[in-house]
């Protein structure tokens, strides 16, 4: 469910860039990434929905009929897009995490269905991570203006990065079964990857301050409610509609 929600919320946010990106090519790049994420969301949510054998739910039901309190995505992903730099900063920090996570799930054997979804996702996320890393390099090691703006984007969003590595009982159970990666081990690798790019981009890694969490437990920022209102209005107003 969490994997699906992460993908779904981020996809919805990236979709908001459609028609508004700084360049045509970038518009297509961001929306392509959004489509990849929707595919992942669909796969993961379908799996999640089928786990409850008594009342199975479809991926659409899960996506469009749950309230914000029932969503378990990371707070990082529901934040407003901001400007292009803010979006790239968010993408960069998440992609590097998502890639490591997907690589783990793809090679575990506890849940072969999830492994299959993750294996496909790895190829997609590898490209997403490459795309966002390259933009970090261009913006950081760019002009005076681009560097100061991307630095600020990273600083502003840093407080949401802690949540990616905060393990709760679900993570602990996942590690025990083998399905999920150990988040503290993941963090070490993530730190190395992030620091490497930031250094090349002549950017400063923001200081670890107070980290905001709660997304995994359905405690979200105002942003999510507003986003879901727009995302869910159609299926809620016309239940059972299709085209």
């Amino acid at each position: 469910m969490r994997l699906g929600d992460d993908a779904l919320v981020l996809a919805q946010r990236l979709g908001e860039w459609c028609g508004h990106a700084p360049a045509l090519e970038e518009d297509i790049a961001l929306t392509n990434i959004a489509l990849d994420l929707i595919g992942q969301a669909q796969s993961y949510l379908t799996l999640a929905g089928s786990l409850d054998q008594d009342t199975p739910k479809s991926d659409d039901e899960l996506a469009f009929l749950r309230t914000d309190k029932e969503f378990q995505n990371l707070l990082l992903l529901e934040q407003s897009n901001g400007d292009f730099g803010d979006t790239i900063a968010r993408q960069f920090l998440f992609d590097k995490f998502a890639l490591l996570r997907a690589e783990h799930i793809a090679q575990q054997t506890f849940d072969l269905d999830a492994a299959a979804v993750a294996a496909k996702a790895v190829k997609e996320i590898r490209y997403h991570a490459d795309h966002s890393s390259k933009w970090i390099l261009r913006l950081g090691d760019g002009t005076q203006e681009s560097r100061s703006r991307i630095q600020e984007s990273l600083n502003n969003i840093w407080k949401f990065t802690g949540e990616m590595f905060t393990a709760d009982e679900v993570d602990i159970a996942g590690v025990a079964s083998g399905l999920l990666p150990d988040l503290s081990t993941l963090k070490v690798q993530w730190d190395t990857n992030i620091n490497d790019i930031l250094e090349k981009a002549t950017l400063v890694r923001p200081e670890d301050g107070l980290m905001q969490t709660g997304g995994r437990k359905g405690v979200h920022t105002d942003e999510l409610g507003i986003m879901l209102a727009e995302m869910q209005v159609l299926p809620r107003t016309y239940p059972g509609a299709s085209w």
């Binding site: 090519e25 297509i28 790049a29 261009r138």
Partner: protein, 97 residues
């Protein structure tokens, strides 16, 4: 914003499909450098499984023949059938080349 135009030059994109033997021209795009051009080409021109290999070339590097010269350049080849290998009849002894 002419600054941006010179910073993001035009590139011509050639894609080879899975079944194809050669790269075909599929269009053009803007990018600030070759690496970015490949990335953009992947996003813009291979969304629908069009290809397995991409070439990008700065549009400036391409020299095209001028349409007004096409008569002089191409018409003379029209009536020179002897330039095709099939024009020649081979004697039986060497007919299996």
């Amino acid at each position: 914003m002419s600054d941006n135009k010179s910073n993001w030059p035009l590139w011509e994109v050639f894609v080879r499909s899975r079944q194809g033997l050669g790269h075909k021209h599929v269009g053009s795009l803007h990018a600030s450098d070759a690496e970015m051009a490949i990335g953009n080409a992947r996003d813009v021109y291979t969304r629908r499984q069009e290809g397995v290999s991409i070439w990008v070339v700065p549009a400036d590097s391409i020299t095209a023949s001028s349409p007004s010269d096409s008569e002089a350049l191409f018409d003379p080849a029209n009536d020179k059938v002897y330039r095709h290998p099939t024009f020649y009849v081979l004697p039986d002894e060497v007919n299996h080349m």
